[in-house]
Amino acid sequence: MTQQTLEHWQQMYRSLWRIRIFESQVQRLAAAGEVPGFPHLSTGQEAVAVGVCAHLNPSDVLYTSHRGHGHILAKGSDIEATMAEIIGRDTGLCRGRGGSMHLVDAANGVLGATGVVAGNLALAAGAAWAAQAQGKSDISVVFFGDGATGAGVFHETLNLAALWKLPILFVCENNGYAEFTSREEHSNVNHVSAFAAPYHIPTKTIDGNDLRVVHAEAGAAIAGIRAGQGPYLLECMTFRMAGHYVGDAQQYRSKEEMAAMLEKCPIERLKRHLLESGIDAAELDAIQNDATQEVLAASDRARAAPRPDPASVMDDVYTSPALHAITG
């Protein structure tokens, strides 16, 4: 490994840990009653977020699902502001209006998460259309689960993206579940990549728990999109190590399944690789510790931040403040 690639992989290792620690912290805070609503963790799926987002500029647009913390952090959004939003503070990305499922960080190109399964796939295509229409080289990336492919709008959006040759990367994190129901009960279609074929959209099904694979394949896909080749569908096979939401006891999963998953942890896998490449274990531990400290410190700052002022509850329904008075 060159010094450059070494640093590159160390940074991604750090990025994986930041997400993992961030979400463990969300889980802890949720257990302590500090998180409103029902957050969904991406634990076990971090390699997809990190491997894809490593190729994005701030001006590229990112859309994600209800399970989007990792994508947003990997795109570079501020940890403190993200946590502050998830715990409903005024300093949060959305001033406490959005929460875990509605994170938006427009300045960083994060146009947002959604609580409606497949609900923003077409919006992501819209961002791609706008880039195309404005002659920009930016692309749009949208993350979604395998369950989302049951929704009609997924197929409508594929058709449009192919027809208009939109610069968009569809990233499906196929974790084999939609809530408590396994993929087999949702569809005969094992691999989401199969949906690309009718539209002649290039696609690949890859090991989403191997950061090196995700990074390489996402890089190639994005290079093609930036070169004007139109949409790409990347299916990342992965595992949801946590429950569907924080609090889900996962009684529908066997012990064997849970154990097998741990084996495939994307962080452990990258770690093994880096160790084999000759990196010092102590160095990796330092990265992990450092990421932990960074996240926990940001989390503490977020927890100390003020709560939203109830008097501001009618802000921003419309752009013009005058409209609130009329319709309130």
Partner: protein, 325 residues
Amino acid sequence: MAVHTFINILKRALDEEMSHDSAVHLLGEDVAAGGAFGVTRGLVDKYGDHRVKNTPISEAAITGLATGAALAGLKPVLEIMFIDFATLALDCLLNQTAKYRYMSGGQVTLPLVVRTQAGAAGGAAAQHSQSLETFFIHIPGLIVVAPSSPVEAYGLLKSAIRYGEPVLFIEHKRLYTMKEDLPDDYTLPTIGQARVAREGSDITIIAYSAMVQTALEAAQTLADQGISAEVLDLRTLLPLDMATIAQSVSKTHRVLIAQEAVLNGGVAAEIAARIGSELFDELDGPVERVGCPFAPIPFAPELERALLPGKDDILRAVHRMVGHA
């Protein structure tokens, strides 16, 4: 007599209707696992996965599927996990389900119940907290039911399944853990009939779904203040039981309507408009409404609380209307 939570008593109603009528089938996302809230938990073990059917995340298609099955002889009970996503089913409900009988000149019947869950609680935020019943009272051919308590839910769900029309059945998430006794001599309510939940003489508070509980709490406080409030539980939002409303208003001459949905274009508007027209001479003052200000439901608890209408809003409105006690 036995105590039941809202969730468990719904399951009992489904269980009873499935066991007495083999045409009744359940379908929806995760229903075999019990659905997001456990209402259907265990029914797949009793009735098999051919009568309790998990579906993909395809609200439009499963609503069409249930509609087509109802036209072909089944009595499907479809679950749409959150009413927020019922918009994905709305084309079907509006353009197919509700109109089928009429457009066919009366050739068909469509016995279908669509169970869904609505309302705000605990930071579920803008896309999982809405009260969208208004969309459905504007659709000729539908029936809309919104129970206010476990026993009400039990009776109304059973009546809905037997009713033979397409019924939207709205469960409020805040009621799911509420407990209530089911009387041994319980008789099923009639779809379309409202209920006097508490008698009173100074003012009528009209409510439905969880807001009935809020109204009852308010009425209790008002009683302590010397104001006698009658609380009407609409039960059915479409059709509206104007007879029961008229009876109450002719007694109290003052009406407050309380809903959780945003006020503009809401169910309370229709009720107020009808009372304003049909009972104008009975009114000692304007018909007032309590509801959600015109904004999406925010995430942070302080904001959610600030926005949602509650007991205090009802009390304030009543005080304005009848003068402080």
